[in-house]
Symmetry: D2
């Protein structure tokens, strides 16, 4: 991911809320790498990942035009919820920028708690 000008603030670094958006990008690409489009989960199966907690620890500032590598992993999951971890590094220097996590509940189309459909169990490592 390449840092956009819009993502910087007047401190000359990336505004901290944008890291949560990057985590979302990491999450979606993690699913895509496993052969799942999150868009299809929502559209075809009516399953949404509602964020119930987000956390980020900022280690070194990211700058405009930096290339950022996001490493995403599933920390734990069950049929009701999942927690993902994120590590963000600047590509050129391999400097660690930030790490964080998000916790999610699975929700149905009408925004009520839902069970993860069985076809997604392998993706989340649920059995």
């Amino acid at each position: 991911m390449r840092v956009r000008y819009a993502e910087t603030d007047q401190m000359g670094v990336v505004y901290h809320a944008n890291y949560l958006i990057w985590m979302e990008v990491g999450r979606v690409e993690y699913f895509r790498a496993a052969g799942i489009r999150y868009r299809d989960m929502e559209e075809h199966d009516g399953i949404r990942l509602a964020v119930v907690e987000a956390n980020c620890r900022y280690i070194a500032p990211a700058h405009y035009d930096d290339e950022v590598i996001i490493r995403t992993s599933i920390e734990e999951a069950n049929k009701r919820s999942v927690r993902l971890n994120y590590h963000m590094r600047e590509a050129e220097s391999d400097r660690k920028l930030a790490e964080g996590f998000t916790r999610h509940f699975f929700l149905s189309h009408d925004m009520r708690p839902a069970k993860l459909p069985e076809k997604y169990w392998p993706l989340f490592g649920v059995s």
Copy 2:
């Protein structure tokens, strides 16, 4: 409206795309001042204002923590579309920051062109 830190960029001024968000705030407050909640238009009448064109001319930069005054007016309207104008000033100095316009079509709940319901004609000056 008070400029947020998140709205600045590394040039030390407000990032230009945010002015379009401010126009949206001006638009909604214009409706509210006329006794109409745009939220109700969407929820109760299924009428949406889809943006078909947006334009902004930037005259002087806005800075973090500036108080910005947005003056909104309806330039022209009919049963199918509306164009609004916006003038933005910095409150303390009365300096002009920007001016612009948005053009909208009215859409129904299923995102198809719609006629503005008669009850909203006075708001938009349509007859």
Copy 3:
């Protein structure tokens, strides 16, 4: 604070990263209520509050045009760092939306760790 259309996502609720921006608004207004403009801290004293950690727990979704009340408090502070807590409620229903915290280091103009100037000690409850 009034929820902006721009802050919603296609789930029909406020996108979760925006709560961190609201915390920033709460923080700045907390300082203003105590007679301190954060802008002056940066401009006149060269002191910045760099975010080193941010956390948010989402309890109920906020919706477009909701009025949100942010209650900000200082959890702990010393000459090097501060932690603030935030509680966010929807004004009309008094429903709790979210709670979270941010931790900050004080940085000098050149982005190096700095001691909080003595004139700001009362604001942060440092002695």
Copy 4:
């Protein structure tokens, strides 16, 4: 460019202000393709492209997870200013999403009008 969840709004489509951010991405990548990092223009030569006008006409809505192709071109340029055009399409369907332009003045490091340094004349087609 892949549409992010954060870029959608509750209408289920991309919020219109984000197209201006995409134009910025298009602009920067246009420069990069010509062998120029905009970041270096700012850092090494103290030259900034301040936006003085932005315009976007929205033709068809973009959706979450769409791949968007931005075609950027220089409409006209001189030593003081430049105007760029943008055409945005959805990759899979080749559907036209939007088109627009931005006009810029060149500014020096202290935010005053500046002449474009000669080394950048070929990039902008200035002679």
